[in-house]
Structures are given as structure tokens and as C-alpha cells.
Symmetry: C2
Subunit: 522 residues, 2 copies
């Protein structure tokens, strides 16, 4: 009992040690830690009044805002488990997440009221809709604010430690998104590790422009609370708005994917913004191309860069490439191409197909153990046992460690595409594409794309006597999948696919010609 730790506790501590400090900045609103604690207790009271019982799942479908930030704490404060939904998913996919998680509640903001109404028909398990009117303050209090004002602050439900605080849905090799279970103790420990490695502290202002429904947004929110620092929330990525916000709010740290960095650096007026407050940028998803690194350090010479490798199942952070390994001298050692070293408190090994460690330099599956690793997938004991076998989280990524413990990712075992910072699982797209009546066989993989890093590409063999155009097949995908998962280009073939000894399509043979001109970034 005394080893208890919880998000509620972290929030109380922030309100104790930094009560007047600004917790969140969003669209002109500034909210102190003391007020954040009060609002979280009131939102928790509203959730309780609508019938939330301990352990109930509460889904969130909303853009980034200070209310989203408060919800991440109010749901566990009330005793619930948050289920942040990817706003880009199709109705069908959203309904799957609601159904799979058994969510009894769905909280939406004003941008998703119409979607929520349609979801209500698809997912009958949803009992309540709560409308968080994040625009309320700007135009005078909306109905949500009026409800909050009338609420009696709730007492913390007391959940923490190994209790779940959230399910984050992520794609799987088998197709449909799976809910990664995350515990209070796991996320708090990961923020401590992250804060130590990245060097973030109470005087930092963290810009959250990546979507809150990804764990990066969640981690930054929890970290700000554990540290009693501040967050600045932006509803969507826009290079001009990001530059204005950094200059106007004096942002000190932001987390981006390389495509966002490219867009920011390409802004014609970048030199006109005062970016001197920015001290740290962490980026994930892929190594930074040397040209982008050079341009970043030219535009913002004071900035320290951190590459973070992780996955939701890892809690999420697994390894960090530090600023010193981004400096010119480090390139010769090839470390800029690595994902850095395991973060403090986390152990990484490379295992072969029989789960035996391989020597330094040899490629195998990247496996992880530590305080922050997820206990598994919600309601999927078999899939959980498969990835967590022998006490190791099997990441599905192939890589090797060098003699100094630097991790190099060489391929993704689980056949995943990263496009614009979003993970797309080939199998999920293949399942949808293969269900089209004209498609006999298909293979989906990532090909290089100037803007998104990778683009979803398909090779299709049509059934005898059938016809289908690229446009028709893409439209079919759009009917079932989030836009970012849809096929962007298709090659048709009549010859049989190259097959492995086990009669699986040899996708790497199909993929190779696309990647000949440049090494694949993973």
C-alpha cells in the first residue's frame, strides 16, 4: 500500500510544490497547477455523477486541448481508465476500439459531436456522452464550464501502482488495433527516466503538437505533472503556428517527427521568429537525415537534439540518442544512424528466433525489459503471451547492439510502415484490400516519400476476368480505414508473387527496387 503511486498523487504534488505555476497554456488560456487540480476534481465529479465505477473505460475523441490534458488525470482520479482514440480512424475502426475496450463512456469535444452521434448507433455499449466544450472560456462559459462550476470536487478514487491508467490502441500484425495496457507506476517511472535522459525540469514549457491520442502526448502530459512543469497544447500541426507559439509562449522543449521538422525548417520566414527559448527537441520515428540535422542546427544553434526510440508496448521510451552523438565528430562513428543507448533503468538485448542472446554486432529481434514495459494487450492473453514471452517484450523490430551498447534498428520484423509519424501495419491494409471482390492477391509495404518519409504502396494481382482501377481500390480502402492507412499508389501484376519456402509472399523482393536509390530509414 505504501509503495502506491498514481497520477492523482503526481497532480497533488504539482499543486503542492508549484501551486501558482502555469500547468497548461492553450488558445490564450493559462491554468495554474492549483486550478488544474481543482478542475480535475470537478471533471472527475461529473464522470462519477454519470455513473462511472472503478475500472470503467472512458474513451476520449477530441483534439489537443487543456481539457484533454485535464481529462487524462480526471479519468483516473474518478477511478476510470482512459482510452484516447485516434481521431483519424474511420467510424468502423473507432467502433472497434470502443467495443474492444468495453468503454462505457465517450468524451468528445465540439469538433466530434457528429461523429459521436453516429458512433452511438454503432457501439451500443456506450452509455453516456459528455461534451467537453473547450472553446467555452473564450466566448464566455459554455455548458460544460457551467456544469464544472456547479460540481463538488471529487475525492481521489485511490487507484494507482499496477492499476491501469489508460489503454492506447495501436495497430497489430493481425489486423485490427489492440489496446496496450499502461499502468500508473509504469508511466510515472517512464517519465522519470525520460526527464533524466532529456534533462527536462520544472522550468520547462513542453510544446504538445503531436496528437494527444498517441502516447508521446500522454507521456509529455504526465511528465509535466510529475515535474510540476508546464505544457503548451496546440490542436494541430502547422509550421507557422508552431513558430509563432515557440516565440510567443517561450517554449523550451518540443517533441516532433522528422517530417514536422522538415516543414518547420522550410518555412520562408523562420529567421523572423525569436526561437531563443527553445533548448531541446526530441524526435522519433526514424533517424534524422544529415542534411536536416545540419539545417536544424543552423536555424537553432542552441537546440540540443534527442532521438527517442520507443513503442507504446515499451511504455513507450526505450532508447535515446543524446545531443553529443548528433555533433559532427560523432557522424564518423556512424552513431547518428543509431537509436542511441537504452535509457536508464531499461535493459535491451538482441535475441535470436529461439530467444537466445546474440553477440554484439549480430542482428536479431530487439527485446526490452524494465519497469515501464506494458503488461500486455487488453483482453488478448494469447497475443500478450506471444510478445512478452520469456520475460522480454519482443518489439518486432530487428536490430543489433554495437560493442558500446548503441542500438541500430535495421528492419521492422512486424512489417510496419511509418508515414508522417503514424504506424501503419501492412496486414491491416492487406486485409481490407484483399476483401475487394476483384483482388486475388496483394502485398502492401512502404516506399520512399519526400513528404511523409514513407508512403503506403500496394502490389495487386486481380482475379481472372475482373477489372479494377487504382482509384476504385483506394476508394474501397477509404471506406474502411483511416485516411493515413490508405494505399496511395498501386502496381498491378499478372505474374504470380515470389514466394518463400513457407509459401509466404517474399515482400522484400517486391520492396527492394523502391529502396535501391537510398537506404531505408527505419
Amino acid at each position: 500500500m505504501t509503495t502506491h503511486c498514481s497520477l492523482a498523487q503526481a497532480l497533488r504534488r504539482a499543486a503542492t510544490v508549484n501551486p501558482r505555476g502555469i500547468a497548461s497554456r492553450c488558445q490564450g488560456r493559462q491554468t495554474s497547477w492549483a486550478l488544474t487540480l481543482d478542475r480535475v476534481q470537478r471533471i472527475a465529479a461529473l464522470l462519477r455523477e454519470t455513473g462511472l465505477a472503478p475500472g470503467d473505460r472512458v474513451a476520449i475523441l477530441a483534439g489537443n486541448s487543456d481539457i484533454y490534458f485535464q481529462l487524462l488525470f480526471a479519468i483516473p482520479w474518478a477511478g476510470g481508465i482512459a482510452v484516447p482514440l485516434n481521431t483519424r480512424l474511420s467510424l468502423e475502426e473507432l467502433a472497434h476500439c470502443l467495443d474492444d475496450s468495453g468503454s462505457r463512456f465517450l468524451v468528445v469535444d465540439e469538433g466530434f459531436t457528429a461523429t459521436a452521434a453516429r458512433l452511438h448507433a454503432l457501439a451500443p455499449a456506450i452509455e453516456r456522452l459528455v461534451h467537453a466544450d473547450s472553446s467555452g472560456c473564450a466566448q464566455g462559459p459554455g455548458p460544460f464550464e457551467a456544469l464544472l462550476a456547479d460540481a463538488t470536487p471529487a475525492v481521489d478514487a485511490g487507484r494507482g501502482g499496477d492499476d491501469l491508467f489508460a489503454l492506447y490502441y495501436t495497430g497489430g500484425t493481425t489486423g485490427r488495433p489492440r489496446g496496450v495496457m499502461l499502468t500508473h507506476a509504469g508511466i510515472i517511472t517512464n517519465t522519470l527516466q525520460w526527464a533524466f535522459e532529456i534533462g527536462v525540469a520544472r522550468d520547462d514549457l513542453l510544446l504538445i503538437v503531436a496528437p494527444m491520442f498517441h502516447l508521446v502526448g500522454g507521456l509529455n502530459s504526465v511528465a509535466a505533472t510529475v515535474l510540476a512543469a508546464g505544457v503548451c497544447l496546440m490542436p494541430r500541426f502547422d509550421a507557422q503556428a508552431v513558430l509563432q507559439t515557440i516565440a510567443g509562449e517561450r517554449v523550451t522543449k518540443m517533441a516532433l517527427v522528422p517530417t514536422m521538422m522538415t516543414a518547420i525548417l522550410a518555412h520562408p520566414d523562420i529567421a523572423g521568429f525569436d526561437l531563443s527559448s527553445l533548448r531541446r527537441i526530441s524526435y522519433g520515428g526514424s533517424p534524422i537525415p544529415e542534411s536536416l540535422l545540419r539545417r536544424t542546427l543552423e536555424a537553432m544553434p542552441q537546440v540540443r537534439l534527442y532521438q527517442v526510440y520507443g513503442q507504446t508496448e515499451g511504455g513507450p521510451n526505450i532508447s535515446v540518442l543524446k545531443p553529443e552523438h548528433h555533433l559532427p565528430g560523432a557522424h564518423g562513428e556512424g552513431r547518428l544512424r543509431s537509436a542511441g543507448q537504452p535509457i536508464v533503468g531499461t535493459e535491451v538485448v538482441i535475441l535470436d528466433a529461439d530467444d537466445r542472446p546474440v553477440p554484439a554486432g549480430q542482428v536479431g529481434e530487439i527485446c526490452v525489459r524494465g519497469l515501464t514495459v506494458s503488461p500486455g494487450y487488453w483482453n488478448q492473453p494469447e497475443e500478450t503471451a506471444r510478445v512478452n514471452r520469456n520475460g522480454w517484450l519482443h518489439t518486432g523490430d530487428a536490430g543489433h547492439l554495437d560493442a558500446d551498447g548503441f542500438l541500430y534498428i535495421v528492419d521492422r520484423v512486424k512489417d510496419m510502415i511509418i508515414t508522417g509519424g503514424e504506424n501503419v501495419y501492412s496486414q491491416e491494409v492487406e486485409n481490407v484490400l484483399g476483401a475487394h471482390p476483384a483482388v486475388a492477391e496483394c502485398a502492401v509495404f512502404g516506399v520512399p516519400d519526400e513528404r511523409w518519409g514513407e508512403r503506403v504502396h500496394a502490389v495487386v494481382r486481380l482475379r481472372e476476368g475482373c477489372t479494377a482501377s487504382t482509384e476504385e481500390l483506394i476508394a474501397h480502402c477509404r471506406g474502411h480505414l483511416a485516411g493515413y492507412k490508405c494505399v496511395r499508389s498501386i502496381d498491378f501484376r499478372t505474374a504470380p508473387f515470389p514466394l518463400s519456402g513457407a509459401n509466404k509472399i517474399l515482400k522484400r523482393e517486391l520492396r527492394a527496387p523502391f529502396w535501391e536509390t537510398r537506404p531505408r530509414q527505419v
Copy 2:
């Protein structure tokens, strides 16, 4: 299973990410992380060969050394639980710790072979003695080194998480020392919190001159391993040797009690040593007097000071007073007199006698909750339930929090004396003194002492018709107690003791005259 973390894991990570880095420096020996891992595996093999089974307790009676450092990891690696013994305890007290912990093994260095032989007679549960010859390397390998060379490195026993890694014995209000249980996850999390708050990282060299049998030494050892940093071990405190070591080894961080700082600053040749490598000093036990602070910053202007408040039961670190609150401007706010703010991830509240929170500014018992708090006392479920009631660790210290979450310690509820950095529980001394045939009644408490901060003082009422001198009573104490616990001065009285309504001796009335000339430092 995948949330597993352990000291073995931390050590493997250090040997992976910093294999050639120096883990330990001790009496001229430098040992890399790769070699430390190898030696730990071999020491673990020796322990297994002598019959160690999972969960067995292994007591250590030795001075600080690199072998002590390796033992702290080798014992859990082999599957055991370390029991670091206070080398200052009397034979009787040592036998109690061995007996209470049920230790099957005792590891001693060459300085304690005679003590070990006598203990073997007193504590028949001890089955094996292993002699760690730390002086071996200097004069050619001793027998212990020869055994290590022949050993086959052992496989990690796989204990971690909530498994115990050590029992640290600490005094109790009821008299005899109690074993505080510490888990793998707790100590690793506390080192992460500590490293974050103190700002220690891989390029640090931590001087361990405080005894390893206290958790401060253990924490610094585990922290160095979690961070893959280095430790420099000194067998005992000596101001001249400390100054030489800082200059010679380029120490960057040290942990001291204020009496050690006083001794260092009083060294006549302090200006002759190059102390420029030293960046951080943490101190505990009591606030720093302003005169000492001023002299420290004059002698070492580059040093950042951290006051750490903790107790073994807390894991140990609870709050930290940061360098900025040691600066001249902070004195006016009185924060130099505080114990700082709760560390990241740890919650502190002030509770009244009914365990209800009191408002800011009001005095009550300091209570703690967090990932690092000990699960309790070994084999003492009732005492554990008493201090851990309602989900809070009750520290036994009285204090208050101000409106900004700064913690002020105003008294020790559990009637403890801190002398030269060691805790002495009055009750334990009173039990021994009261057992003397001439003593009718006695009260023991701390009085101001120039050198040790506090001195153990007794007020004694003799039985009618009996006589006893101060020397005789002190000699009686020496027969049963560690030297530092013994009474140093005695006042005799014939009048009855002042009593409370509950017929308890009103010790504060006896103590008050001694503390009139200066405020009590707690």
C-alpha cells in the same frame, strides 16, 4: 514478468553501455564496468557454491571497499538478500541483527575476522563465513582472489521487482534494531528520482566515504550502476584523505553529514588542494548552519549544495533542498531552514494524530507515499502496520509544509538523537541504562555538541541506598551498546521526574535548558 527490474539488470546495462568506463576506484585499484560484471558473477558463484538458496540472507561486516560494492550486487545476483551490518555495533547487537534476519551467511573482510569468529559462537544460525580479502590486489592476489579466478561466472538468479534486495537495520523506538526491507524496484526508482533531483549522470564520480552499511552508501552504489557512472570508495572518514582523494581522483560529487563538512573546512591546508572537479555536495541529517554554508561556498565556489531529507524506511530519499535555495537571496524566505520540497514521484503530507491532513503551516507528523517506500520491517508485521497505516509511511518526524510545499522539520516524534550522522534511539539507551542495578529511573536525550551536532546525555535517579559514578554507568553502556550510542554525560537527581498526564517522563522539560542558547537543529 516484463515489468521486471533488478540490480542484476542495472549492472548488465552498465556493462553494456559503458564497458570500459571505470566503475570503482579503491586504494589504487580501478575496475571497469565489464570487469565489475565479471567479478560480481564470480562472487555470486562462490556464494552459490557455499549453498546459498534463493531468498537467503547474507550479512556483510566490512569496511567500505570495491569488494563491498561488488557484494551489494553479487548477493542479489546469486539470489540472496544483503544485510549490511553497522560495524560500530556491539557483539550483542550484531548477534541480534544476524539472528533477527535469519542470516545463513556472513561475509567479512580482513578487519573483522576476529569479530566474525566470536559472532559465530553467539549466532549459531550462521552456516558459512566467506573471507573477502580486499587487500589482495595490492600485495598480489590473496586467497579470495584465487577463489574468484577459479570460479565459473554464475547466471543471474532472476530476482527483481518487488523481491527484497537488502535489509538495512535501523534503531527503533521499542529498542532493538529492526530490519527495513528494501526491494529492487524501490531502490532503482529512488536512484532515478535522486539522480534527477541532484543532476548526477554518467560522467560523475561519486565519493562514498560515509559507511556502506548505511543506505546512503548503498544508494550511491546503486545509483552509480543505474547511471553507469563511477564510485570512489574510502574505508573511513579523514579530512586530509578526503581532500587528497577529491584532488587526485577528480571526484565530482560527494555525500556528507554536516560534521564531516565542518572537519573538511577546518583543514589548515584546504586552499592547497585542487577541488575544482567537485560540482555537487549533498548533505543530510540536519540543516546547514549559515556560517558553515558561507565557508563552504568560499572554499568551493563552484559547488552546488543539496540538502537531502530521508530515512531508511522512505527508500531513503524523501525531499531535497536545491542549490538555488542555498543562495543568499533565499535566506530571507527562511528556506535554508527547510528540508526542501518532496522529490519527483514522492508525495508528502502532514497528518494529525487521527491521520487527517492538516492545513499548510500547521505542525503534524510527516507522512510519505511513493514508489520507493519500504514495504516494512522484516518479521515485524505489527510494527510495519503501525508505521504504514492508512497507506502512508509515518516517519515519526514532526513538521509542517508551507504554502509552496517546502517541508520544515520541527521535531522528531520518535525521540531520536542524531550524533555524527548516526541515529540513536533514546529508548534503546534507556533500556540498557535502566537495567543497571543502581538505576531507579532515567531519561536519555540529545544535547548540543560542538563536534557531533548532538551528544547522548542522560538524567538518572539512583535507587535508595545505591551509588554509581558517571564512569561506571558509561562503562555499563559500553558493554551492551555501540560506542556512538553510549551516554557521554550524566546529570544525577534525587527529585522525582516531571511527568505527563499519562505518567510519562516529560523529557522536553529536562531537555529545554540545554537548548536555550541556540535553536535545536533537527
